[in-house]
Symmetry: C2
DNA sequence: CCCCGCCTTTATGTATACACTCCAGTTCAC
DNA sequence: GTGAACTGGAGTGTATACATAAAGGCGGGG
């Protein structure tokens, strides 16, 4: 694999994991030494991270890991509502219910996975992610797909802040099931509204989580 | 200004103008010679264009100017509906009507500009673009703003294909006026729906334009 | 006559050297 | 003592050289 690709994935993973905390400096030479490549591929990786919104130029010459505070999470969810709502709506419009039959069962069985420890949790998220992928694919819109993938990076980052709440995840599974059923039924309006409902509840949970972790809402930046 | 920034803007302008036609190859050395810089800044510029969706990797080692056919225009408008609809909705929700008072008059007067030749046409589009900027700013959502700016690049590209139809532009001004009024009135649903209507009519016109120009719908790729 | 394989060529991917700018620390003048 | 200017350093921005791999052409064989 290309060195720039490896550097990009390594840095991205560390940002999503929180190993590189919000506000951490991303200097070319430092990262090049740490990753064992030259500045050139690191430079390319940093440019991609900035385009993704995972890194932000604090000044003309210093790049930082982007903040992840309540305000940016709200912004993210407003954007997700627009994009994922449209994706669900389009997926319903395409009338290809057979794409979702296997996936529906997988989502229906997902709550049981929450009693299967760490591995089950991973399987739960795999099922949810598979649904996202299928909706994106069914929407059959490359530009929307690109926007969704970008947004999913940030969602993954929020997910790792708010993870591990079985009660919420059980409810989320029901919400996802309703979305799938609306798509299968070809009910575009319901698909969009169910997505809205899911995101609303998910946002509420995410904000409560970070509030619990950082009582002062401005400390996470 | 940095050489990479100049290279990016020059190439972007040529793609939007159509000087670089869809499918044209974007080779690093060729563009570096043409623009009078080394490969390094050109490389960075090409990476940004690819991230923007204005360039597409045809194979592992050849980058081309992205296609601009009926299918990609439809995709663009589905994405625009999601993003601009949400932006209008949020702008209405924020309840800052005073931001739009001057702009409303400007849009109301825009149709008269269509009788003022080339310069008037530019002024017309400046007014429309100013409205887009103000809605984006009023929506107060950095992530949505970034997505909107990306989409606006592609919209500009389509605009130059379908330009110069005074009748359509007069109608578009009325549609924009309705959007502004809905935002000023704080009517989020109407703002979103008026945006939907505007995009629907705009898409119909764009598709008719390229159909007239390329009777075979697949020739523009 | 066609197809497979090798070779050449040409492009990209990476490393490195150099130039330049911005920031900080220090020193001097007021 | 404070402020401003100068100087040093660290980091980015660009150019270039080298490594590498994919694509196309040519030749030989079937």
């Amino acid at each position: 694999m290309r060195a720039s690709e490896r550097a990009y994935r390594a840095l991205r993973e560390e940002i999503l994991d929180g190993a590189l905390e919000p506000g951490a400096a991303l200097a070319e030479v430092e990262q090049a030494n740490r990753l064992g490549v030259s500045r050139t591929p690191v430079r390319e990786a940093l440019a991609r991270l900035e385009a993704d919104g995972l890194a932000t130029a604090a000044s003309a010459r210093v790049l930082q890991v982007s903040a992840l505070d309540a305000a940016s999470i709200r912004s993210l969810y407003e954007l997700r509502e627009a994009l994922e709502g449209q994706a669900s709506r389009l997926a319903a419009t395409r009338r290809e219910p057979e794409r979702f039959t296997a996936l529906r069962e997988r989502i229906a069985d997902a709550p049981a996975l929450l009693d299967a420890g760490e591995e089950g949790l991973r399987a739960y998220y795999d099922a949810v992610d598979a649904l996202d992928d299928e909706i994106e694919s069914a929407a059959a819109n490359p530009m929307l797909g690109a926007a969704l993938r970008s947004v999913r990076l940030h969602s993954a980052r929020v997910r790792r802040l708010a993870r591990h709440h079985p009660e919420r995840l059980r409810a989320a599974a029901s919400e996802h099931l309703l979305i799938v059923d609306a798509i299968v039924a070809g009910d575009a309006a319901l698909a969009a509204h169910a997505t809205h409902v899911h995101l609303h509840l998910s946002l509420r949970h995410a904000l409560a989580s970070i509030e619990a972790r950082h009582p002062d809402g401005h400390r996470v930046a």
